[in-house]
């Protein structure tokens, strides 16, 4: 598998995801600078977390209009796997690659903590090492993770299996107590209609090594390597 990580000037999880990718792939991903207009031939593009361009406007809004994102969008439409984490998810919704918007958290604060997620669809390249219904632990670190989409689209997405992860209790129950940010349907991550684009607010790369407190996130990178090699 070949992978590229897009680096915006305010990206700050680019190194973290590169480390996690390397641990699963056995090779370093390519780091692609935001001003580049061409993407090398790769199997996976990662749009990492951070504060692209400072995010003083709406999160991801400026990044969505950068030259490199036009290229990412074209690749995604041609079927390349694209993974957007946190700010990367925000950018993918702003780009139109994923439906919905990410609004300010319900309590208006930045939240950094581990959350438990229920895997909703394991029949994708991102999640083949998980089983639907599994509860996994990933950290979140965001102020704008409150996902919303209008009801009709939401129902279609549910019917299509486009919900990737939901915030859930440790026993897998999806309820208000498990929802850290007010997200519609406790949604933590979603796929596009072709299942080649995944965006999620939690950070799988932050718990991909036991020394850091857990390795549930590593399975996502292992899944991708397995699927794309």
């Amino acid at each position: 598998m070949k992978a590229a990580v897009i680096v915006f000037p305010g990206s700050n999880c680019d190194r973290d995801v590169a480390v996690a990718l390397e641990a699963s792939m056995g090779a370093k991903p390519l780091m692609v600078w935001h001003r580049d207009t061409e993407l090398p031939a790769v199997d996976l593009v990662v749009v990492p977390g951070g504060f692209s361009y400072g995010d003083y406007l709406r999160c991801g809004a400026m990044a969505a209009h950068s030259p490199i994102m036009r290229e990412v969008k074209a690749r995604a439409e041609a079927g390349t796997r694209v993974l957007g984490i946190c700010n990367g998810f925000q950018i993918l919704t702003e780009t139109g690659l994923l439906p919905g918007v990410l609004m300010r958290n319900k309590d208006l604060k930045f939240i950094c903590k581990d959350v438990t997620l229920r895997v909703e669809n394991d029949r994708t390249d991102f999640c083949r090492y998980y089983r639907s219904g599994d509860v996994v632990r990933f950290p979140i670190a965001h102020a704008e993770g409150n996902w919303f989409v209008e009801p009709k689209t939401y129902r279609e997405m549910e019917d299509n299996g486009q919900i990737a992860f939901r915030y859930a209790t440790a026993s897998g129950k999806v309820d208000e107590s498990a929802n850290p940010n007010g997200s519609l349907g406790n949604v933590a991550g979603i796929y596009n209609g072709h299942f080649n684009v995944l965006g999620l607010m939690p950070h799988p790369e932050r718990l991909a090594e036991d020394l850091l407190g857990g390795a549930d996130g590593k399975l996502m990178f292992d899944s991708l390597v397995e699927a794309l090699s």
Binding site: P9, R206, L212
Partner: protein, 732 residues
């Protein structure tokens, strides 16, 4: 040019005798720009004029110290060609006036101090002191400061891995925001600030200069009065995105062989950076202020020199390297301008619109700035409180009250607003004795802590100074790391009052003793004085930030109990010291008594013992005993794991003294029964008192015939801060 009147001199915070000295130095009357420059350079904040004499007494050397105080930050060697660069700095006055921006720019400033030396910041910490929770401003200040620290640190992508927060009425009018940054550098590629090379270009880069923050340093060197809110325009505004660009641009530039010297523009902006760099290099500088990138039109020389606009750097480049540097700044979309040259005159010559606006000798303003030996009186010693005179409360009832009191209550509400995991190396997150951050790509890790117990310092600044250092030493040791060095952030009231000066002197003496005896040198620091409002001073708060090294990150220990059926061992003596304790304050409403004494020679032995036991794999969990005493420490170990404990108290001291006394130099260890003989033997060999005080297991904590479920304790511990801050959300 307007005449310099006594009113103008006074409004610049310059005392009449200082003005006489200015006239001597200048040989003429200064103009307004020159006077402004004197005022910031000679401010307490920049010159350390009241504390210098005493700071010089602190131990600053050790074989592993690469750079001690006097540079932007301190540097220690951690082997393998790597160095740790760190410092803690206050942003107290601005944070009280404008909490979000004050705290945010405090983080920005300390980050720059560290990366300007060639280090990539790898962790932030902060030590916060707020007023009484019932004071009408406290909630607003907590909310603003925490949001500001998070807003800045989260965006630059440096994890905020820990800190401490206290509440006390003495901070009602003067909160303390002390921010610390730890960075990792290549020991062979460190950058200093001494200018060199006559004719070399003086280069400005980063953000543009605006009119914000003018006279911030002078504001931070005066007491507050009822009009302090009017000083809001002196608070700077932070831009963490630009800071992030600045970090990356600096580190990229530092990998090229182009920089002679570099310094950030912190307090007193372009003035202090240019004067300090020139003074350290024994050179002169000529600046054309027309070339400074400016945000607004029509700025005067005075405004340009005194602006404290953030995210700006000054450097001396090697000749002919301007294009290399400019290309990197272009990539990161940062302003870049050659604004002057180094000269051999020893003078600072500033031109604006082709006219000389200031011509000053450099040394008298910088390295040779005033130094005062202010009169001081040693504080009276508080009497020792006898345990018999302290009423006994049932232990579990008292424990619940202590766990939920503002100083001990969980600070989860705060640290969850900080990204403490970005960079992927946070091994021990907030909530342990010290944060543990792995050195990227290897097996080593650093342990980081901030410590100070202001109520001890109030009761006895000398003992309190010793205790702050000793507690930092313990917190580092409890993770298994070897304590290496400290940064000190001294926060006090008005040094012109002999009793306050006495606190400063005694605290520094105490810290010096502890640092010397524990081989724990001071490598950097900052002094914040005049933390007074209408004559009311803060509790003396000499905050310590400390760093230690773990050779193998896999061997670090945490405070959480690991399994049922293990022995709980107390290292150190327990006499039930109640003076200046939290128990006395929170349960008896008494803020009195001498604080617990620290026995430094035993402290060191115990630290060595604990580290050796951890390295040998004999310790399952380890926690130092501090605020609230033994029972609080054990409760914290239980709450972090969900595994309970049952304790057997000895017949003496009295139960409440055993549970809540704050005797120093103690650790609680969790030890597997098979390892117990080895641990007790090792303690005996080191002449350290050790006894088994209980066993882990179950889901409750029991002692003295009382018991509470861990969930109950957690509720008591977790509820206070969110409830307190929640009240702010609803507008009450």
């Amino acid at each position: 040019m307007s005449r310099i009147t006594p009113e103008i001199i006074a409004s610049h915070g310059i005392k009449p005798d200082e003005y006489t000295r200015i006239l001597e130095i200048m040989g003429r009357e200064p103009n307004l720009t020159e006077l402004g420059i004197f005022s910031v350079m000679w401010s307490e904040h920049c010159s350390y004029k009241s504390s210098k004499k005493w700071l010089k007494t602190l131990p600053t050397t050790a074989p592993w110290v690469i750079c001690g105080p006097g540079e932007n930050a301190g540097i220690i060697d951690i082997g393998d060609g790597q160095a740790i660069v760190f410092k803690m700095e206050s942003h107290n006055h601005p944070s009280f006036i404008e909490p979000y921006q004050g705290a945010a720019t405090g983080v920005g400033g300390i980050l720059r101090d560290v990366f300007t030396m060639g280090a990539r910041p790898i962790a932030n910490m902060n030590a916060l002191r707020f007023g009484d929770p019932s004071h009408p401003k406290t909630r607003h200040l907590v909310a603003g400061v925490v949001a500001g620290i998070g807003g800045y640190g989260n965006c630059v992508g440096v994890p905020t891995v820990g800190g401490e927060t206290n509440f006390h009425k003495s901070y009602n009018g003067n909160i303390l925001v002390n921010a610390m940054t730890v960075g990792l550098a290549d020991a062979s590629n460190i950058f200093y600030s001494a200018a060199a090379g006559i004719g070399n270009p003086v280069v400005y880069f980063g953000s543009k200069t605006g009119r914000d923050g003018i006279h911030g340093a002078t504001m931070a060197s005066a007491e507050f009065d009822e009009n302090s809110e009017e000083k809001r325009p002196t608070v700077q505004v932070g831009d963490p995105f630009t800071e992030k660009l600045l970090i990356e641009a600096c580190l990229e530039l530092m990998a090229t062989d182009t920089i002679v010297a570099i310094q950030d523009m912190g307090a007193a902006g372009l003035t202090s950076s240019s004067f300090e760099m020139a003074s350290k290099g024994g050179l002169g500088v000529e600046l054309d202020l027309d070339l400074v990138p400016m945000r607004e039109d029509g700025m005067s020389a005075y405004e340009i020199m005194l602006s404290e606009s953030q995210e700006r750097m000054l450097m001396i480049l090697k000749p002919g390297k301007e294009d290399v540097a400019r290309a990197i700044m272009d990539k990161w979309e940062l302003d870049f301008a050659v604004i002057g040259t180094l000269t051999d005159t020893g003078r600072m010559v500033l031109k604006r619109h082709g006219k000389v606006e200031a011509d000053l000798p450099i040394d008298p303003l910088a390295q040779a700035s005033p130094e005062y030996d202010r009169p001081w009186t040693a504080p009276a010693k508080a009497p020792v409180v006898r345990l018999e005179d302290v009423p006994a409360h049932p232990p579990i009832d008292a424990l619940k009250r202590l766990l939920g009191c503002p100083d001990l209550a969980s600070k989860r509400w705060i640290y969850q607003q900080y990204d403490h995991m970005v960079m992927g190396d946070t091994v021990q997150r907030p909530g342990g004795d010290a944060a543990v951050v792995r050195i990227h790509g290897g097996r080593k890790a650093v342990a980081i802590t901030t410590d100070c117990t202001p109520r001890y310092c109030q009761a006895d600044p000398h003992e309190g100074g010793r205790q702050a250092v000793a507690e930092a030493y313990r917190n580092i040791s409890a993770t298994g790391a070897t304590p290496l060095a400290v940064t000190v952030n001294l926060n006090f009231g008005n040094p012109e009052k002999p009793e306050i000066m006495g606190q400063i002197v005694e605290a520094i003496k105490g810290m010096g003793e502890a640092c010397r005896d524990l081989d724990f040198p001071v490598v950097s620091g900052n002094v914040s004085l005049y933390n007074e409002t209408q004559g009311q001073a803060i509790q003396p708060t000499p905050a310590i930030g400390a760093v230690g090294l773990l050779a193998d990150v896999g061997k670090h220990t945490t405070i959480a109990f690991k399994a049922a059926g293990n022995a709980i061992v107390l290292l150190g003596e327990c006499k039930g010291w109640m003076g200046a304790s939290l128990y006395l304050r929170e349960l008896c409403g008494r803020e009195e008594g001498a604080p617990p004494p620290v026995a430094l020679h035993r402290e060191r032995r115990k630290g060595e013992l604990v580290r050796a036991l951890i390295a040998d794999g004999l310790v399952r969990a380890c926690h130092d005993v501090s605020d609230g005493g033994l029972l609080v420490a054990v409760a914290e170990m239980a709450m972090s794991s969900g595994i309970g404990a049952s304790l057997d108290a000895p017949s003496s001291p009295a139960l409440h003294g055993w549970c809540f006394g704050e005797d120093q130099g103690r650790y609680v260890l969790e030890v597997h029964p098979d390892d117990l003989p080895g641990v007790l033997e090792a303690a005996l060999a080191k002449d350290v008192g050790a006894r088994v005080i209980g066993t882990t297991g179950g889901h409750a904590l029991s002692v003295g015939g009382q018991s509470a479920g861990i969930d109950d304790l957690r509720t008591a511990h977790e509820a206070w801060l969110p409830a307190f801050m929640g009240a702010e959300m609803s507008g009450h």
